[in-house]
Symmetry: C2
Subunit: 452 residues, 2 copies
């Protein structure tokens, strides 16, 4: 991921110009935190994803000379001092970043990512950080629910064609896998991150052949143990009989339309009577966590699931409302904790850490504390420093390791949070330090000034 620095909102540039004119690119360091104000409906937790791409964006951030020349011609920037454009040509991200590890469950009001940098740099990157982390986190959070519903049966992600473009397809495949999906159909994602690839056949393969059984036979010859035959182009049950009658031995058959509960039973019976009890049944076709749970509760004999649209678009919560808010400003050595007091959009001031309190290997509550408050005994700190002076402090983990850790951390959550049919709430408290900072800010109606 290496995007242009123009992947930003115009106002980030106008504000940068304002900060620059006042010399604040040198005098002022700002801390912004990325968090979600409230969880979407039907999400009892979020699964963090996209941190890797966010860090790549920060590491490679720069303006091409031609982009700067173009910016200098825009009427909105006509009154900006020419030195600002020289500054843009040289600007790099030089800040410090703390982040929650990918695959970790988080909740509302918890900072997922924290940036401390010269105020110009920290402002510039808002749009990209939000676009990256909001999207991948929403897909990972949805995928985690689907994986929970499948209760151990593999879930393959097949959604590229319904994703928001090819790039979204790629990163959706990544997010779905790290949250517990077993693989993807998207070849590029398999190549990039060693995600197991899965593929069956399309209706066009069957339709373009002389007839259905010829299509199955040709495929079987070529792909042997990897053959997954698609049964529903014309008539699902007739197709199952034809497989038995022609003594094919596919690894699996796929059902993609109709009443999956009834069809899976009938197909299972036909295959078993034909000596194909080892042939598995894959179900697909607009599945989500609710439909998967319903099929399994009805004991439909389905061995694995293909999901697409619902996961790659997080269809019932397609936009995560993550925000990136200024929490602290240090200007010429004086630090101020700041907050926003807008109706319904107030924020918690100060640079923060999340403490996850564990009891008997189970997460019981989180405390969001100021960064420099003392650690909470028996609690795990979720934010780690991942970037210093604009450079990563560690190498990315292999995605399979992130996935394994995600499954462990989701399993630590209270049982109600892991139910897909409840909107359960987890206890997230502000620490005494955060509470005091809010009270102080609101009582004075101006920012409290703290000298470090």
């Amino acid at each position: 991921m290496s995007a242009t620095a123009l992947a930003t909102d115009l106002y980030q540039l106008t504000m940068m110009a304002g900060y620059f004119k006042a010399g604040r690119h040198q005098s002022t360091r700002a801390t912004f935190e990325l968090f979600v104000r409230r969880l979407p409906l039907r999400r009892s937790f979020l699964v963090v994803a996209g941190i890797e791409q966010a860090l790549s964006f920060l590491e490679t951030l720069r303006f091409d000379a031609s982009d700067v020349a173009w910016l200098a011609r825009q009427p909105q920037l006509a009154n900006v001092p020419p030195a600002f454009f020289d500054y843009l040509r040289e600007v790099r991200f030089s800040g410090e970043v703390w982040a929650v590890g990918e695959g970790t469950p988080v909740f509302a009001n918890e900072p997922i990512l924290r940036v401390t940098a010269p105020i110009t740099e920290a402002q510039l990157v808002e749009t990209a950080l939000l676009a990256i982390v909001n999207f991948q986190t929403s897909v990972a959070s949805k995928a985690a629910r689907v994986v929970l519903a499948a209760n151990g049966r593999p879930v393959m992600e097949f959604g590229a064609r319904r994703a928001h473009g090819l790039d979204a397809a790629l990163f959706a495949a990544r997010a779905a896998y790290l949250a517990g999906c077993s693989g993807t159909s998207l070849v590029e994602a398999g190549q990039r991150w060693s995600i197991p690839l899965s593929g069956t056949m399309a209706h066009s393969w069957v339709m373009s052949a002389v007839n259905e059984i010829a299509a199955f036979q040709e495929y079987g010859t070529l792909f042997g143990e990897h053959s997954v035959l698609l049964l529903d182009t014309y008539d699902t049950i007739a197709a199952a009989h034809a497989i038995v009658d022609h003594r094919l031995r596919p690894a699996a058959v796929r059902l993609d339309s109709g009443d999956l509960q009834a069809l899976s039973r009938e197909v299972r019976a036909v295959l078993n009577r034909g000596g194909l009890s080892a042939t598995q049944i894959v179900a697909s076709g607009d599945l989500d966590e609710h439909e998967i749970a319903r099929l399994l509760a009805a004991r439909a004999p389905i061995d694995s699931f293909g999901v697409g649209t619902s996961v790659v678009t997080s269809i019932d919560a397609p936009a995560l409302g993550g925000v990136y808010k200024l929490v602290e400003v240090t200007e010429e050595g004086r630090m101020r904790l700041v907050m926003k007091t807008s109706t319904g959009k107030a924020t918690w001031p100060g640079r923060k850490q999340i403490w996850r309190v564990m009891e008997n290997a189970r997460a019981v509550r989180d405390v969001v504390a100021l960064h420099d408050e003392p650690p909470i005994e028996g609690a795990r700190a979720l934010l780690e420093r991942v970037m210093a002076d604009g450079a990563r402090t560690s190498r990315p983990l292999p995605l399979a390791a992130v996935r394994a850790s995600c499954l462990d951390r989701v399993a630590e959550l209270p049982p109600d949070l892991r139910r897909i049919d409840l909107d359960a709430r987890y206890d997230v408290q502000p620490s005494p330090g955060v509470t005091a900072a809010i009270r102080s800010y609101r009582s004075t109606r101006t920012s409290p000034i703290i000298t470090p």
Copy 2:
């Protein structure tokens, strides 16, 4: 847009290998059509978008040698003849493409894009064409509704941070503009397609300043007539009074939270009493077509709107169910029309054209006919040939021209379709030729074979 050829589902490659082994990459030309089976809820029409990016993808399609080497090592392709990988190294898209012009309203069962090519090539590109056209069309369709609701007032798209990644943000900005939005906040989109850029200020600008009025003053000094001051960081009405008291003259003020109807009235009154009747009011904050219509019906004094999440994710219909289906196969000179008869997923056979029947400059119904049926008098053919032998047949229009044409074509639709509160239906009929082909196919239960 130049993506890797690995931006495809694994099964496209396994099917390609199967076609290749049977020599069908040389003997068989296939026609696929991209269409939507049914409109999403709350969409009376779709606005086509993404054709340009789809064509770019086709024109630049190729496999890197290293990608092919990687593919040859995948276990799923272990039995594939080695010559297939030589073929992949050389493969280019060499087909013919017909498409509906971007910005044109279309309906269910109407082919938006039609590909005729060697079956291997036509199959390979399915995933990418769907991902690109489904996404941009869904955003353009949503944006068209928002623009209708705003009833002539400018609508700026500010949604990058909630889009499905940076690429999605870029193409969402494009789709929103071509469907009638007046501009975008995303700088990269402004640069790429000359979309007017718009920006105000963020809460962080206000929060990082010594106080709110200092933030406004500094901004005004730098951006003069372009200044849009954000009022709701602390208290919207107090901020409006402060502007008047300090004799600032911003181009506009922005309201981003709270009761926009009441606040816009109060702010308007404060500004007018302070001699700032020329200062406009911009409203933003989770707006969609319904909220905009409600505000305007209540005569809220709002001059323009900023929309984000709802448009860039098409939030109430975030996945367009476009499909890409085989409709015709020509093998060694013999042409077959083909169709799928799955429950609820049947398709219309044959290579098709859309005829839009006009009466008094108003679209009254569409007819979907076989490509070689005679033209319908007084009707406009919507599909045009845009690519021949893998090369574009014309240069892309400037996006502003596409936008103008979109506004005209939406205005031609029946009035009920342009209402955002109705799920109105437009009349789309299969032609006699299509009806006969369906009947023939269903009666024989095998593909009708037509010798051209």
